[in-house]
């Protein structure tokens, strides 16, 4: 660990001082954040290469590469600060929820018009962010309506362009992390993005809280809808059968981040681990990849139980982890209104 820390400081940051560093920030940057964006960049390369080799929607190799790269994104999707937010990269990689169907609408327009914008990945950066990224690709590979639209050659080119665009954005995020942002988090300074380790830890805590909120309220909450009107077709990435998988992957990542934030507080770390394990076990027990069972009261109840477990983790993070990091759990400060 010492050695790795030294390496990263030597490679990404001009060492400007010897201020006492919080070891948790370095641990998280080195072992949680950077590996995730590296995996995303690598998997996105493989995806773009697969599409270049074989671009038909039913290609096994292409679909496998789509699964791997999407996994990599979901595992990093809670890290919504810094490089992911430049030029709306995260939104362009993952435009969801898409409550008004902007993704299929955008794709239909582009395909129907045989829009030449699909000829190059750099031109494609100009289209609506809803028609870019993993969710657009999911439509091209799995949605029967989109797969029957226009001509196959054009859709093939579009698939290649969208995957190349995904790879370009993933690399841009990774590059920014390596060349700039890791150092920002690791070496807070008066005129830097973070002025102290406390601010860096707060950013990471915020990523954890927001990730839990997104998984609980949106990944699970959207399909749950209301008791009288469950909405399984609002589940994330149901067309490719990935809805429950996204919840599972995000819980895995958030579990790791929370334990790293708990640091040497073993009691809290164990408690967090137990709560995450409970939620993950309940989710596995559902055995329902696209939450189809929620139209039945029993299935719905079981998914609600998972959502409640995520809620318990949020409470634990707010009431125990936050104060342990010196962030007060205020009645108003956590409210966001």
């Amino acid at each position: 660990m010492r050695h790795m820390l030294f390496t990263i400081l030597a490679t990404v940051a001009p060492v400007t001082g010897f201020a006492e560093q919080d070891p948790r920030v370095a641990h998280i940057v080195q072992d949680h954040i950077l590996p995730r964006f590296e995996t995303l960049a690598d998997a996105s390369d493989t995806l773009a290469n697969s599409a270049r080799a074989e671009c038909t929607a039913t290609s096994d190799a292409l679909r496998a590469a789509y699964f791997d790269a999407f996994d990599a994104w979901v595992s990093a999707s809670h890290l919504r600060f810094g490089p992911t937010e430049i030029e709306n990269r995260a939104f362009a990689l993952a435009f969801w929820p898409d409550s008004r169907g902007a993704t299929p609408k955008g794709l239909r327009q582009i395909i129907s018009a045989r829009d030449p914008v699909a000829m190059s990945a750099s031109d494609y950066q100009e289209v609506s962010i809803a028609a870019r990224g993993f969710y657009a690709l999911e439509y091209l590979l799995f949605d029967e309506g989109i797969r029957a639209l226009g001509d196959e050659t054009y859709r093939c080119t579009l698939t290649q362009t969208i995957t190349a665009d995904i790879a370009a954005m993933s690399h841009a995020i990774e590059d920014d992390w390596r060349t700039d942002y890791a150092a920002q988090l690791l070496s807070p300074s008066g005129d830097g993005h973070y002025r102290s380790d406390d601010e860096a830890l707060q950013e990471l805590l915020k990523a954890l809280s927001a990730g839990l909120q997104f998984t609980g309220d949106t990944r699970i909450g959207r399909p749950l809808g209301s008791f009288t009107k469950p909405r399984p077709k609002r589940a994330e990435a149901w067309r490719s059968g990935r809805s429950a998988r996204h919840v599972a992957l995000s819980l895995q990542s958030l579990n790791e981040l929370s334990r790293m934030l708990a640091g040497t507080d073993e009691g809290l770390s164990r408690k967090l681990g137990e709560e995450f394990t409970r939620a993950s076990t309940q989710l596995t027990g559902l055995n329902d990849p696209v939450f189809a069972s929620i139209t039945e009261p029993r299935g719905r109840l079981r998914l609600e139980v998972v959502q409640q477990s995520v809620g318990r983790i949020r409470t634990l993070v707010r009431e125990a982890l936050g104060p342990a990091l010196g962030v007060a759990a205020g009645f108003n400060s956590m409210d966001g209104d």
């Binding site: 997104f214 309220d217 959207r222 007060a328 205020g330 009645f331 108003n332 400060s333």
Partner: protein, 358 residues
């Protein structure tokens, strides 16, 4: 939901024509309203005196957000916290709920509302998700708060709404953030949001202003109106790099002015203004950041930061004869004078986002 008993209401009107109707003076002339929470987890709406003593305390069915005080009658409307679908009208003389308002199907309230100058109509900010635009609901305060109409808010995600003094011009903070009613708080359109400030007369937008394109992720959220009709607005930053400002002032028909704040002080507010108020003399503007645990006081004429005060989890703020009154989620009630912040009271009630002057 309990609807007001119609016969009871009619009887009330009959009686009202025979005996003088109660006024705010009859309930001890509270100076402020605020929602809060008790230690047992239940929620209340309170009336506070000018000395920040709790005058009355009325149970609420759920966590409140802001309240609207009827301009004449001792009647308060408490709004559920976004994305709540109900608002309750409370007779502050008896402590009894006298009417319930429910958001129409597919809508939710954003937690703010204001009365017409004569107190006959109540306006509420609402989300019409399917249409992808904000609406202003109109409710008849003379007829049990029946819904009598609605019009466009002029943008997406209307949050605060205020009325300009001495006239029926409404000003609405269209925060620009699209939220889905099922989850209510997940932000759907941060990449494309375009907040604005809209002025509305008789249901028609007569003036709308947007900030510069580089500030399009600065969600205009809360409003305060000075005696001369000047509008101060507090923002919440949704972007990545630091915002240039979180507070602005605007007079209808003119160009908005963003108030200047040194970068370090601005960062301490953590991109988040919880509430805003204009002092009685119009010379100062106070904004709170519960996340930063800070109050910033700006000079209205200079347009620059004049003073900074610390108070943990501070949010509610309103004008006070000393300067400003502020409330916190720790249960403190404080005043801010020329130079210093003073605790006036501290109690078992922890105070919600907004302190509403009556």
């Amino acid at each position: 939901m309990v609807m007001p008993n119609r016969r009871g209401f009619l009887a009330g009107f009959m009686a009202a024509s025979l005996i003088p109707r109660p006024t705010w003076a009859d309930v001890g002339a509270p100076a402020y309203l605020s929602a809060g929470a008790l230690a047992d987890g239940s929620y209340v709406l309170c009336g506070l005196t000018g000395r920040l003593e709790v005058l009355f305390q009325i149970p609420l069915p759920d966590r409140g957000h802001a309240a609207a005080a009827h301009p004449k009658r001792p009647e308060a409307v408490a709004f559920a916290r976004r994305p709540g679908t109900f608002a309750v009208v409370i007779d502050c003389a008896t402590g009894e709920p006298t009417a319930w308002m429910e958001a129409p199907q597919g809508r939710h309230f954003y937690g703010h509302g204001t009365f017409s100058a004569d107190g006959r109509l109540l306006y509420t900010t609402e989300n019409d998700f399917d249409a992808g635009e904000g609406r202003i609901g109109v409710w008849d305060a003379t007829a049990g708060y029946r819904r009598v109409g609605e019009f466009a808010s002029g943008g997406i995600g209307p949050h605060d709404i205020k009325r300009l003094p001495e006239r029926d011009t409404l000003v609405v903070a269209n925060g620009g953030i699209d939220t889905h009613p099922d989850t209510g708080r997940s932000k759907l359109n941060l990449a494309t949001m375009r907040p604005n400030l809209s002025y509305i007369e008789a249901g028609t937008i007569i003036n709308a202003v947007e900030l510069n394109p580089d500030a399009h992720k600065n969600s205009i959220r809360h409003l305060a109106v000075g005696r001369k009709g000047e509008v101060a607005f507090g923002m919440q930053w949704q972007g990545e790099a630091a915002p240039s400002s979180l507070v602005g002032i605007h007079s209808m028909g003119q160009t908005p002015q963003l108030l200047e704040c040194p970068p370090d002080d601005l960062r301490n507010m953590q991109g988040y203004i919880g509430s805003i108020a204009v002092s009685d003399d119009g010379a100062s503007i106070a904004v709170t950041s519960p996340r930063g645990g800070l109050v910033h006081i700006y000079g209205a004429a200079s347009g620059t930061l004049a003073a900074v005060h610390a108070a943990a989890d501070v949010s509610g703020v309103a004008a006070h004869p000393d300067g400003f009154a502020v409330t916190t989620g720790m249960g403190d009630l404080l005043t801010i004078g020329e130079t210093r912040i003073s605790r006036r009271a501290s109690g078992p009630i922890i105070w919600d986002n907004h302190l509403v002057a009556i």
